[in-house]
Symmetry: C5
Subunit: 254 residues, 5 copies
């Protein structure tokens, strides 16, 4: 798991449970029907709002958010520049073995197309369609968590209203008012916790992961087009390094 | 009906009615005048906000949201590639019978235009106008449900204020305060339920259905342009499969 | 007046006044100073937020929202196709009489320019400037009602705060607290009513009317350019009908 | 000062102070520490949010909002058409005196560049940079007032919380609770007043003034390019009049 | 530190602590567990929402917001025009020494590329990639503070709900209700303070700093392209000065 996510989740949950324990004890904050209303209700609303096949990936998407596949971008650039050098020296067909062994699917596809002698425009068009469509699917995944935040908050409010109405109709025993209202507020609290610990932050990191993947794919696309065009590897490296922050730029020609 | 919608709606309504039943009974949460204010009032506001002819489709649009027409995209791509193969082998006129029997209206229209010998630019322009205009109408439909969420919430709040004012003017009998306030809160609860079970989620799924339909039409458009241009069916297939997620891509040439 | 607007407004106002009458009577909900604060205050804020000449059209814009000028689009397309046929048969100058008698100002202007022999680029540029500028003015009009919703809500809240402060400073007579607070809440209720019956819905329908008018003008523009270019009337009709939903498309050639 | 702004401000302030006076008197609504928290605090936050040099123009920008420089657009179009006529008759150099005496800086700059024989592309590029950069600065100015609305509201809420906490810790004297809470609510009231009388409306009118200025500059730019190209003054006038609403279009050729 | 930030922060904090001191004393507003919930909880949520490497720059980004690197734009333009003059007189190679001694990294890179004889398109492409990528990273940094505002507010609300529930379950001692509720409200107050003193304003100024840096880089890019093309220094100066507000434009040719 990603270190930041672990620290973050431990920090929040530790502080919140600590605060609960310091007062009336954690037990007072746990009410199974309230948990069901907020979690079940919001997931029910998500099932209406999204397609079944999108919702099936819910847990998988959550794992991508907190345990992302890593791509070493400086290493990737180094590899692309080496391919460029090799292609200029030995011809583009010499990259066939490299293409077959490549682990990054996007790079593999692009390289194979170049080795197979496809037109540059065809390669670019295919890779761009793939980039855009993948990104659309990622954004739709992030939207699930974004909507979850809103819907969990709303279900929390509905739950509190249900509890408040019940409390208001049963005010004969004044000593029961406090505890009834306490329970009624729990759904609002659960809704806010789900929305602000899982909903909004997960949606945000998913969009960042998508932007990162798009950057990697843009670098690969530029690299492949340049390799096929037979550009100077130094020029290619200078261009690809421009995508990185200055402190991560390492040239293999210096 | 779409399985996800059914499960989602059953889940939410089951949990909420269960929570009501556990406390003071479902009957205490049903107040016909409050229901009328929130549902009638918000639909009244929608009648001001949208055109009569848009509102007439309200129920039909709702049904599309929960019971969508399905298009099998891999099958569609297979068919387009077959048409492409046939057109290269026997000429584009050989697709006339296929065009006449085609069930997808968009594909039928495009194919017929190609068979009739229209210019590629004319075909593309017509199909793009059709795509854009259909999508505009779909977005306007989704907007109805999006606005419904906001307006139902607002009507719920107005209803609660009407009830609160009545309660505040009648505080001589303290035992009536609780029940009066309970009834006043019901409209807010109804507004939140409508907005977050029907309004926002239905608007969201309608926008997803529109994006799906646009993807299908984009694939059809690319296919028709490619068939007319006499492109290699393998190249066409590679391009169209790029629109799909990797695990759904099945080539008929392998 | 537009049927939808009438039904909508009658429905909302009927339900809300009915709810008031059922409880403590409509009279209890009417407080002239509160009405003045919310309506006067929000209109005052609109006078700061918009230009005097925009505000002068306030009532006129409201009437356009609920009683729109209607344009029969299928009829318009039929007319444009007939002009196209006539221009191909008798030359574009034969449309001079039609241009002079045309009631739609936009079509009249475009047709006259074509008859007068202006360059296609000049005609397109002028008509596009006119379309864009008109649409900008319409959007600014809709923005008035959109802002009204927010400002009326805010004035309602300010009024309630003024009333609450007064109530809190006068708590010596407990029996006066309820009625004072009831009056204080009225401004919030008025603000929500204005915002959600007139503000947001009127802004929405105005934007729909603008989109409708833009569609009509786009059809006219495409028609005029096509008439001047001497395109085949059948091709023109096919193109223009693509702007309509499938069930409204009627060809005069079939 | 702009008549609308005067009427608007007088109307709002009159109504609000009237409502205060009718109840417990205006004095009860004035609390200097509360005023300082909301105004001082929100301006402090603006000083963090914007650059010092932007904040220095705060009062100047406010004055532009309520007392705008007026440009008579029909007169401007008339002048541009006259310049066009003169340039065609006597050559573009004959406009040198007109350029020197021109009061509108943007028109003066463009005209001088045309008289000096600069390339059309150079003139267009310079004038467009100037338009865009000026508009960016205007939008940044409007953003100050937009942010003010939000920050004043937030400071009002913080002030109320400070007051509420103080009140809750001092509940031994029940008769002090009402007045303490009244004072606590004042900051929320001030925040809402600043935000909805000055913040949001001023930001809105500043954006309208910017759009107006952009329209004027677009007309000037089109005029200068047309004058330099030696276009027919009638064609130029028809084009420039298209930017105006129909009822303001007056041709000097009819 | 930037003067505006210092004045702003001193002003806000002085006013708020003053208001606290005037009432029940600052001590009553400090509750370490509440501080931990809001600050720790919101930073925990940020660690989930952003990547570890982004969060590591948290303090550094904050310092950039309140103590920005300054670039004197009129001086920069003067320098670019001088380089332009020198390049026309002595050839572009004569700028090699200037390029090596240049302190602005972006100008140094562009100038070196021009001196090294790279193609104009290559230079423009590299510099544009660098501009866009840097700006993307800046916007992601600003987003951290923007999200902080929302998450701190949410943690404040969750903390208040935890405190309210504890209070409602312990209502046997009426004298404890006030103080318990006071403590419960503190987290909401902290959340609002963090969000509106640090979150939103810092995000706003970071976006302004990014826009400023983009403007500087656009000027440098235009300057380098013009120097390489051998344009007239006067034309270059006129163009670059158009980026400035009128009162900052000083020509060295007058």
């Amino acid at each position: 798991m990603d270190l930041g996510s672990v620290i973050g989740l431990v920090l929040i949950l530790g502080l919140l449970f600590g605060a609960m324990a310091m007062g009336v004890g954690i037990g007072a904050y746990i009410d199974i029907p309230s948990v069901l209303i907020v979690i079940g209700g919001s997931i029910g609303a998500l099932l209406v709002a999204f397609k079944m096949e999108q919702m099936k990936n819910f847990v998988k998407i959550f794992m991508i958010a907190i345990k992302p596949p890593q791509e070493n971008v400086p290493e990737l650039i180094k590899k692309l520049v080496e391919y460029s050098t090799q292609a200029r020296r030995d011809g583009i067909l010499s990259l066939e073995a490299a293409a077959n062994n490549e682990e990054n699917d996007f790079l593999k596809k692009g390289l194979s197309m170049a080795v197979d002698g496809n037109e540059p425009d065809t390669i670019r068009e295919l890779l761009e369609i793939e980039m855009e469509q993948t990104s659309e699917r990622h954004k739709a995944n992030a939207a699930i968590f974004d909507q979850w935040a809103g819907l969990a908050g709303a279900m929390g409010m509905i739950g509190t209203l249900i509890g408040l109405v019940a409390m208001l109709l049963n005010m004969s025993d004044p000593s029961a008012i406090g505890p009834s209202m306490a329970v009624a507020l729990l759904t609002t609290m659960y809704g806010a916790m789900i929305g602000n610990i899982f909903g909004t932050p997960i949606a945000n990191i998913l969009n960042i992961r998508d932007a990162d993947e798009n950057l990697v794919k843009t670098i690969i696309l530029e690299g492949i087009m340049s390799i096929q065009a037979g550009d100077n590897p130094r020029t290619l490296e200078a261009k690809l390094l421009s995508f990185l922050p200055p402190n991560e730029r390492v040239s293999q020609f210096e």
